[in-house]
């Protein structure tokens, strides 16, 4: 399992990357940077960790084309920038780094995407974390509600004790970007499981209906594709408190992907899957059978939806028979449904009928 590195360790790891370039020049060869191939063709299941990780395929970025050469130069600038932050005890957002690169001349980023990707490249090659680099994401973390108590160190360096039911308003507890031990400690809880919810509308519906108290659970709003810190805190709660995690999403190909990134690891962050993924998470719904069983209002699959489903059929993370059945069934139905389509049967249907029935299947209600 990955862990935070000290500034010295981080610098040393980055210097290895720099030295690879330097040594190649000394040898009279074009400088290079070696990193794993980051596509679904190069992820495999790590039995020991229970998550998907990058395989052995390596790609060598060498300075024989202008584009690659610029990437190498940018990487050097990023390394320099991180060293400066480590020395000064500062952090910056990825977006700030993108703007700071304006002054890097030829090493300037062409787009924010480039700088995000490069930060990830560096994480992968150095086996350090973005948090080690003092780089923060733009995306904000999730909201959480439920009878659980944690301790967060605020920006004045003081520890604050927060109960995510009694000390927060209706919007819940906001998960910060850094949820590592130096920032957050999980103290105690009185819940039976954690439910991750895709949409804000459904999250608020469950709160209004008092679902967290009736069913003794913690509710977590994912905000679509969950941020790293959201996945990380889910993983920590699941492991440290030994709680089951159920995932309640829309019933469409994109939700399947969200689930895969929660449970097995995302392709883009497969280098830190064991740090972000929650292998024990369970997909609660909406499943393809739910659409039929509950006769839910549904939309036709778009061309893109169908492409996504077909891509999932060949994705190693969906290789088990349950997922293959679900995906094939959705393709056959040609339909998808939103979480909130459950409102067809009234505002309380989801909390009084649907979720209890689904949770009962899992032995959680």
């Amino acid at each position: 399992m990955s862990r935070m590195h000290t500034p010295e360790e981080t610098k040393a790891a980055m210097h290895e990357v720099v030295a690879e370039m330097y040594d190649r020049i000394v040898k009279g060869e074009p400088p290079t940077m070696t990193l794993p191939v980051r596509t679904k063709n190069n992820i495999g299941f790590d039995k020991k960790l229970g998550v998907y990780k990058y395989g052995k395929k390596q790609s060598i970025r060498d300075a024989t084309s202008l584009g690659s050469a610029k990437q190498l130069l940018r990487a050097l600038h990023v390394v320099e920038f991180i060293e400066e932050m480590l020395d000064a005890g500062k952090s910056s957002t990825l977006r700030e780094m993108y703007y700071i690169s304006e002054s890097w001349g030829m090493g300037k980023f062409g787009s924010q995407n480039e700088s995000n990707n490069l930060a990830e490249d560096l994480e992968i090659v150095t086996k350090c974390l973005r948090e080690d680099f003092k780089l923060r994401p733009e995306e904000d973390g999730a909201r959480m509600i439920g009878n659980l108590t944690l301790r967060e160190r605020n920006r004045r360096g003081e520890w604050m004790r927060i109960n995510a039911r009694d000390d927060v308003g209706d919007s819940g507890y906001g998960v910060p970007y850094n949820v590592e031990l130096e920032k957050i400690e999980l103290l105690e809880h009185d819940i039976d499981f954690i439910m991750a919810i895709e949409t804000g509308g459904m999250f608020d519906r469950l709160i209004e209906n008092g679902f967290d108290e009736d069913f003794r659970c913690g509710l977590l709003h994912l905000k679509g594709q969950p941020a790293r810190s959201t996945r990380r805190i889910m993983k920590r709660m699941s492991e440290e408190w030994d709680l089951p995690v159920v995932v309640f999403l829309d019933g469409d190909p994109w939700s399947f992907r969200i689930f895969a990134s929660i449970a097995y690891g995302a392709i883009k962050t497969a280098h830190i899957s064991e740090y972000l993924a929650t292998p024990s998470a369970t997909y609660l719904g909406i499943t393809a059978d739910d659409i039929v069983a509950y006769d839910l209002p549904s939309d036709d699959l778009s061309k893109k939806d169908i492409e996504a489903l077909n891509a999932e059929l060949s994705d190693p993370r969906f290789a088990d028979s349950w997922w293959q059945d679900q995906i094939n069934m959705m393709l056959e139905l040609g339909k998808k449904a939103e979480q909130q389509s459950l409102a067809k049967y009234g505002l309380d249907f989801v909390t009084e009928t649907y979720l209890p029935e689904k949770l009962a299947e899992l032995g959680l209600a």
Binding site: R24, I25, E29, P30, P31, A63, L72, L73, E80
Partner: protein, 705 residues
């Protein structure tokens, strides 16, 4: 159409001019309010250009259009030139004369082949607004300008003049005007923008008249300025006599009836080109006519027989009579470099290629095709290319689809040359404009409207060949551009990025900056050629620098070849590397082996060119290893150059005499003769006038000029 005209001419004694005009307005160019304005501008500008050309003056023409009454579409047009001016007594003739009965057997390339000239404008103004046209003209030898208002008495069918007088003529800056003509006309017309507009007409005129400065002030007061890009006037064209292959029956009948020659022998020798003494004998025998026949005795059948002999339908000893080709020095092509300048100044672009084909002959008429292609810049990439058609330097703006020149463009599969074209047919799409110019002594149009060229196999073939060659030029340019972009990237890589990587990595690791040469050779792994072609202000020469780098690990040997505008009279100077002539316009240098890491410069200058004449040198090579930035020599391409060279040299010898005359021709204006010559265009293609004048009226002044 000609039916109406003939009816008008023969049957009706008293035809009102207004009626005549009304019935024929579609081919007089006055069929719509928008087109009427273009026609009026066209007649005035063509006259100005012709007069200046004749008098060897560099034209400056100012056109101003203003709306007098927007509700009624009344427009005021002022056209001013710096031509030789018209002597007072000739003004009425120029502006009141209908252009019929001119000597039809003098043949040469001329602008004034369309419409009925400025007289039509005077008529149109009078008929639509009841206003006269004000003319002011000054010749250099007189201190004051002549002024007169010319109009039309519709009841008496006569031109009128009023308020004739003389006055001082001052320029805007207060100096007195030396010479020139200005007309001020008021007419019912509509000013429009777009593809068929005064603006487009002037823009196109400017492209093919790079020696002219044209200033246009539109009704919104906006000033459009097309500058002069060359001091070179178009070559003076020689008149030639018609060639027997190009004669039609009506024309021959006229020539016979108007002949003052002693007999048929003299008639044939005196009035035709390509007729040698031997040819004369053969023609007479083929026509079964005695050479000593008096001209007056030749009747209908005789003339028909003669025509059949001309056309090779009657044979001499089983063969058509052997005639020489007509001379081609009666043509005045714009020439490659000037088309290039004209296009470049008008259209923003990245690439221009132009081509003037060697003159050719169709049906006894010499003709020459010129093409230009301009690519890139700010032109729209997803629209059909702009087609710029010209006949004898006159823009053709209507009936694009039906024109031979358009068909020639459409017949080429442009996809292979880098333009989009659905199915390889039709007008291609892309950020480009294609110019086609037909110079000919006899431009055949599809109709009296004279906006589209009629089909002609030989002209089509020439135009097509020119397009194909131009297309190859475009393809090469695009390929080169791609390669150059790659080369530029590589250079940026080794000159900027790699040193920065070395420096930054050394600094981060706190180690010395490493040596780069090994990495550079590995990264480039190629031989690279860079060239610059630049105008040198001080020496007034075009400096060319070619540099070859060997970024490989082995020695490399090459022959480097470069194109240069030898055909346009350029001379190679300071060519210290020596080398030898490979073909017309291609020089070659055989280089010693270039060692790894070595570079070699070839430099020379080109004299005898103006600034902007030559801006891009094509570099070719012979050798095993590819050279980035140069094209491998295609020996077929060399053969084609050599073939054109042969034709070019033959043409030079043929035209040597005229070339000398044109060089000696005096640049002094000759106001006494010029205006008459300039405004009496020889409309040779009108064998029978399509528009017959009202009976008994050679000019609007009743034929009394």
């Amino acid at each position: 159409m000609s039916g109406i005209a003939q009816k008008l001419a023969s049957n009706q004694k008293q035809v009102a001019i207004s009626e005549f005009f009304e019935k024929n307005k579609h081919f007089l160019g006055f069929d719509s309010l928008a087109r009427s304005l273009i026609t009026a501008v066209k007649e005035a500008v063509d006259n100005a250009l012709d007069a200046c050309e004749e008098a060897r003056i560099l034209p400056t023409i100012r056109i101003q259009i203003s709306k007098l009454d927007p509700k009624k579409d009344i427009i005021k047009l002022v056209v001013e030139d710096n031509g030789p001016g018209i002597p007072q007594k000739s003004i009425e003739k120029v502006f009141g004369q209908l252009l019929f009965g001119s000597r039809f057997h003098a043949i040469r390339q001329s602008r004034g082949q369309q419409g009925i000239g400025i007289t039509g404008v005077v008529m149109y103004c009078q008929l639509t607004t009841g206003r006269t046209t004000h003319v002011r003209s000054k010749i250099a030898t007189e201190p004051t300008a002549a002024i007169v208002d010319i109009g039309l008495d519709t009841r008496k069918n006569k031109a009128t003049k009023a308020n004739a007088g003389r006055e001082m003529w001052y320029n805007e800056d207060g100096s007195s005007k030396e010479h020139g003509t200005e007309i001020t006309a008021q007419m019912k017309a509509k000013y429009q923008k777009g593809r068929q507009s005064v603006w487009q007409y002037l823009r196109m005129t400017s492209i093919v008249n790079p020696h002219a400065e044209i200033i246009f002030i539109d009704p919104e007061g906006e000033k459009h300025h097309w500058t002069r890009v060359t001091e070179r006037l178009p070559t003076k064209v020689e008149s030639i006599k018609p060639h027997p292959h190009g004669i039609e029956l009506g024309q021959l009948q006229r020539m016979v009836s108007e002949s003052n020659d002693l007999n048929l022998n003299h008639f044939l020798l005196n009035n035709f080109s390509g007729v040698t003494n031997r040819a004369r004998k053969e023609l007479c025998q083929a026509a079964e006519l005695e050479g000593t026949r008096k001209m007056k005795t030749l009747k209908g059948d005789d003339i028909r027989q003669l025509l059949e002999a001309f056309q090779g339908e009657r044979l001499f000893n089983g063969q058509p009579a052997k005639l020489l080709k007509p001379p081609t020095n009666c043509l005045s092509p714009i020439e490659e470099i000037l088309i290039k300048k004209g296009l470049s100044k008008t259209i923003d672009s990245r690439f221009v290629t132009t081509l003037t084909r060697v003159p050719s002959v169709t049906q006894g008429n010499p003709f020459q095709v010129e093409v230009g292609l301009i690519f890139g810049g700010t032109m729209a990439g997803d629209k059909p290319v702009e087609i710029l058609r010209f006949a004898n330097r006159v823009p053709l703006m209507y009936q694009q689809g039906g024109c031979l020149l358009t068909k020639a463009i459409e017949s080429v599969d442009w996809r292979q040359y880098g333009l989009d074209q659905a199915g390889g047919k039709g007008v291609p799409k892309g950020p480009a404009a294609i110019l086609v110019h037909l110079a000919s002594t006899n431009v055949q149009f599809t109709s009296e409207a004279k906006e589209a060229l009629a089909d002609n196999g030989e002209v089509m073939e020439e135009a097509r060949k020119a397009m194909l060659e131009m297309g190859r030029g475009l393809r090469k340019h695009l390929e080169k551009k791609k390669k150059m972009a790659k080369t530029k990237e590589k250079f940026e890589l080794i000159n900027d990025i790699l040193p920065a990587i070395a420096e930054k990595s050394a600094q981060l690791l706190n180690r010395p900056v490493p040596e780069l040469s090994g990495s550079i050779t590995k990264i480039m792994s190629a031989v690279i050629c860079e060239s610059t072609t630049e105008w040198n202000k001080e020496t007034k020469q075009t400096d060319v620098d070619i540099v070859l780098f060997n970024y490989t690990t082995r020695p490399r040997a090459y022959t480097i070849l470069a194109t240069w505008p030898e055909k346009s009279g350029a001379k190679m100077e300071n060519n210290d590397t020596g080398g030898r002539k490979e073909a017309l316009g291609v020089w070659a240098w055989k280089l010693e082996a270039l060692q790894p890491g070595e570079r070699k410069h070839i430099t020379y200058s080109l004299s005898g060119l103006e600034r902007g004449d030559w801006t891009e040198t094509e570099i070719l090579f012979r050798g095993a290893q590819d050279v980035i930035g140069a094209t491998k020599m295609d020996e077929k391409f060399l053969q084609e150059i050599r073939r054109q060279e042969q034709l070019f040299l033959e043409g030079e010898n043929e035209n040597t005499q005229s070339a000398q005359t044109k060089n000696e021709s005096s640049p002094e204006p000759n106001p006494q003769e010029a205006p008459i010559a300039a405004t009496a265009p020889v409309t040779t293609e009108i064998v029978e006038p399509a528009v017959a004048p009202p009976e008994g009226q050679r000019t609007l002044f009743g034929g009394d000029v």
